[in-house]
């Protein structure tokens, strides 16, 4: 029956395509016909799926949002560095450890650059990594569950901005510091910045099977600002490139003082060489204090471990591992083309776009053609490494992505446009306006050796006049372009949540089938799980009361609880007994000082409640779960601190 339906739809589809072709030829490419054609190309009919997933960073929301392309529909918000009352992330006892740092519990983060794990230079869809800028951290999201499963804090770092990009087999995810700081941190005059501050570039190893992260080493670079980075790939695999600004090492009014040098640098790091040095015992272990938080899917619980040392490497002690490529002028984006030959350094204050050649760089290194050195690190000659210049393509170049067909697409912040140009000939092919002040842009797979073409979307900082106004603040906007032809075509505006700083995208087929539908109750190893109504109980341990609570359509077990007293600390351990896709249950109790819980099928989550008033208080399910959802409720009796009400609980009968 389904097949018949499908083939009918397919035939209808053919007819629709046919007739629309006729329409456009009849009307002679008029804008009306074109516009409807564009609408069809982003229309995903009810019940149909988008062809691509896009993961947009939430910037200051600390989250990651999941969108479909080409529809621009938002599917999910994944909490990463911020508490999220929708699910209880960062509020539940199990997930609080995820937000632990050396500065204590931090309920917010500034999430910037998501990057998807790769195998042999191609996106493999296993994990997505994202950096936190403010309190330097790197998070890993498992694309089986779309949940944050690991966060590692980065010591010696500040403004973790040139992150979190992965090497072509996900050997490392990098976390480069934007701000240089005293290492180790100490009390010293700020004006003594120059020569005393350092920039830590951290190489975090990723275990091939589990994805577990560990800081393998940190390269302690001169005190510049390390802005963005990109791994080499193909021929340049083994190298990592970082743009710098403030090579002046100014410490005040940087908008002037960090813009004095005509050229800053791209730092080229041969990480394979440093890895070898480290594997042979190179570098020194340095005292440190940073959190490593891991979420265990079988106990549904995160643990936070404080690590006490980190291996640091002085680049001048590893000859041949680090070089500086002069790049005009305060370069921001640092992007490597799919072949690994071209390194695009977008000088954000430069009128031109500078592209370096990896081959020329190696050649200059081999022939020792150095222009000088900085803190023991050789500086190459600008002319010796230059592959070409895109002349005056626009104002304020920021970021570049590639379509895998020899073309590059660069965003221009000041002139608000995307410019398409050709690698090798450096000629501008096309330009399209964005609305307005574009930051990053993304091509699915554009950050890998094999871009998946077809679409490109630009993420704008300002949205005025694109949507109905919503008071002084509007959500940022992304704009979707079809890049399958010679010219870019604007297809769609769609609003984004938070600041869509950067995004990663890929073909849906890579992860859709692997997406997990439930947690198996049988595999639930949470110490407070109740795996059936029969396992439910209430246990008092001093002033702590542990309630082993279950949820299933449409009741809690138990639904009546007595014997709790004012001043107790009540742990509601809620296990969802459902084993059916997309049937979570919620839990909320009156006067809860943290948040509700949203518990997935087979999962256990814990909310702490500290009753302050005597009474009989209700709790209920917050997620509409069934026809009897409104009836899914219970009562908890709170007695005076000095009362002797015994602990009792029941379901389906009165407490005697």
């Amino acid at each position: 029956m389904k097949n018949i339906l499908k083939s009918t739809l397919a035939i209808l589809g053919v007819l629709v395509t046919f007739s629309s072709c006729n329409n456009s030829s009849n009307s002679g490419q008029k804008s009306g016909a074109l516009a409807s054609n564009v609408a069809e190309r982003v229309y995903v009919a009810p019940g149909e799926y988008d062809s691509h997933y896009a993961f947009l960073s939430g910037g200051y929301s600390g989250n990651l949002t999941v969108y479909g392309l080409p529809s621009g529909r938002m599917f999910k918000e994944i909490p990463v560095f911020s508490q999220f009352p929708t699910s209880g992330y960062g509020y539940s006892e199990e997930t609080k450890p995820m937000l632990n740092t050396s500065h204590g519990f931090i309920p917010w983060g500034d999430a910037h650059h998501p990057d998807i794990s790769q195998t042999k230079g191609e996106i493999d869809g296993r994990f997505i990594f994202i950096n936190e800028n403010n309190t330097p951290r790197i998070a890993k999201i498992d694309l089986k569950t779309f949940e944050t499963t690991e966060i590692i804090e980065v010591p010696n770092s500040a403004g973790n901005h040139s992150s979190s990009f992965v090497t072509e087999n996900t050997e490392y995810v990098v976390a480069g510091t934007r701000f240089s700081v005293p290492i180790p941190q100490r009390d010293m005059p700020i004006k003594e910045y120059k020569g005393n501050f350092k920039g830590a570039l951290s190489f975090i190893s990723v275990a091939p099977e589990t994805g577990e992260m560990d800081i393998k080493f940190q390269v302690l670079m001169p005190g510049f600002n390390y802005d963005l980075s990109h791994p080499g790939r193909g021929k340049s695999h083994g190298w990592f490139f970082f743009t710098t600004y403030n090579t002046e090492e100014a410490s005040t009014l940087l908008e002037v003082n960090a813009s004095q040098n005509d050229k800053d640098f791209i730092a080229a790091i041969n990480w394979k060489k440093i890895e070898e040095y480290v594997n042979n015992g190179g570098g020194t272990m340095m005292p440190a204090n940073y959190a490593h938080n891991v979420y265990d899917e079988s106990t549904h619980t995160a643990t936070s471990t404080m690590k006490k040392e980190v291996r640091v490497v002085n680049p001048s002690e590893v000859p041949g591992a680090v070089y500086f490529l002069p790049t005009p002028k305060s370069p921001h984006g640092c992007d490597v083309d799919p072949s690994g030959e071209y390194i695009v350094g977008n000088g954000k204050l430069s009128a031109n776009l500078t592209v370096h050649s990896f081959t020329k760089m190696l050649d200059a290194i081999e022939n020792k053609k150095f222009a000088g050195e900085a803190y023991g690190i050789p500086i190459l000659n600008f002319e010796d490494v230059l592959a070409g210049v895109v002349e005056q393509p626009g104002l304020g170049p920021l970021h570049t992505e590639f379509d895998g067909k020899g073309n590059a697409y660069t965003t221009f912040f000041i002139s608000s446009e995307v410019v398409k140009w050709k690698l090798g000939t450096w000629e501008v092919i096309d330009r399209k306006p964005t609305y307005y002040s574009v930051g990053h842009l993304t091509i699915p797979g554009g950050n890998s050796g094999k871009p998946q073409g077809k679409y490109m979307f630009a993420m704008n900082k300002i949205t005025k006049d694109r949507y109905l106004p919503t008071g002084p603040e509007m959500e940022h906007s992304a704009q979707l372009y079809d890049i399958s032809g010679d010219k870019m075509e604007l297809l769609l505006d769609f609003p984004t949540h938070g600041e869509p700083h950067y995004a990663a995208a890929m073909e849906a087929s890579l992860i859709k089938e692997r997406s997990q539908k439930i947690y198996k109750l049988a595999d639930n190893k949470h110490p407070y799980a109740a795996k059936s109504d029969a396992d439910t109980k209430v246990v008092r341990k001093g002033k702590d009361v542990h309630i082993y609570l279950t949820t299933i359509r449409s009741h809690f077990s138990p639904d009546n609880i007595e014997g709790v007293k004012v001043g107790d600390k009540v742990y509601f351990h809620v296990t969802n007994l459902e084993q059916d896709f997309d049937v979570p249950h919620g839990f909320a109790v009156i006067g809860q000082n943290n948040s509700e819980l949203l518990v997935m099928p087979g999962q256990t989550k814990t909310s702490v409640w500290e009753p302050k008033q005597v009474g009989v208080w209700p709790f209920y399910c917050t997620d509409f779960c069934s026809a009897l959802h409104q009836e899914m409720q219970g009562y908890i009796r709170v007695s005076a601190a000095n009362s002797d009400t015994p602990i009792k609980w029941s379901l389906g009968e009165d407490i005697e």
């Binding site: 439930i518 059916d580 896709f581 026809a627």
Partner: protein
């Protein structure tokens, strides 16, 4: 007669497929279940079509007061059926072998078929009774009560075979691999009978 006996043996042995494949399958689809729920009925118990289907069917059925789907040890049929099937398969093989060595006539093949058919009809009758009880014997405290236009309580009995609409669910009930193997096996014993008869008539004339 040799050829007929071999077909008889093969036909009987096909019954053993019921030890590996389900006899029957019932699928329940609804708008909120784009992947339909389902159960496979084996001769020794009922299993979900997907891992958690039985739990989810029971979860839905509790609204209308249906009993939970019986476990293997909760129905005598699930311990008797395997014995009957194994016994009939062995009996068929023995009759086939005896036929092969001309110890019994081809008429025994038909006898086996008739016996198997009677047992089959009894099995279907029992199965239908169970479906009627399962779909009609509802908990009087059920939270959802639906009545027919004439005022009698609605039965949620799935169809013995074919398609039926039960509230928001589309229910399809059809034989499965084991059942088809059994039908093919039984048909082969008829073929064996017919071949045996033909051979015997040819020999006589």
């Amino acid at each position: 007669m040799k050829k007929a006996s071999i077909i008889m043996i093969i036909g009987s042995l096909l019954l053993l497929g019921l030890f590996k494949f389900p006899l029957w399958n019932i699928m329940l689809g609804a708008p909120q279940y784009p992947d339909p729920l389902g159960m496979n009925i084996y001769i020794d118990g009922i299993k979900g079509f997907s891992e958690f289907d039985l739990q989810n069917i029971d979860g839905l059925n509790h609204y209308i007061g249906m009993k939970t789907i019986p476990k293997a040890n909760e129905m005598w049929e699930f311990s008797l059926f395997p014995k009957v099937i194994f016994g009939m398969a062995m009996l068929g093989v023995i009759i086939g072998l005896l036929g092969y060595f001309n110890k019994v006539s081809y008429k025994y093949f038909l006898g086996w078929f008739l016996l198997m058919s009677v047992l089959g009809v009894l099995g279907m009758y029992d199965f239908n009774n169970w479906l009627t009880d399962y779909g009609g014997n509802l908990d009087p405290h059920a939270i959802i009560k639906v009545t027919n236009p004439d005022g009698t309580p609605m039965s949620y009995k799935p169809p013995l075979i074919g398609f039926k609409k039960l509230l928001n669910f589309d229910v399809t009930s059809l034989p499965h691999t084991g059942g088809y193997l059994m039908f093919i096996g039984m048909s082969l014993t008829i073929v064996a009978f017919w071949l045996g008869r033909k051979t015997s008539l040819t020999t006589k004339t």
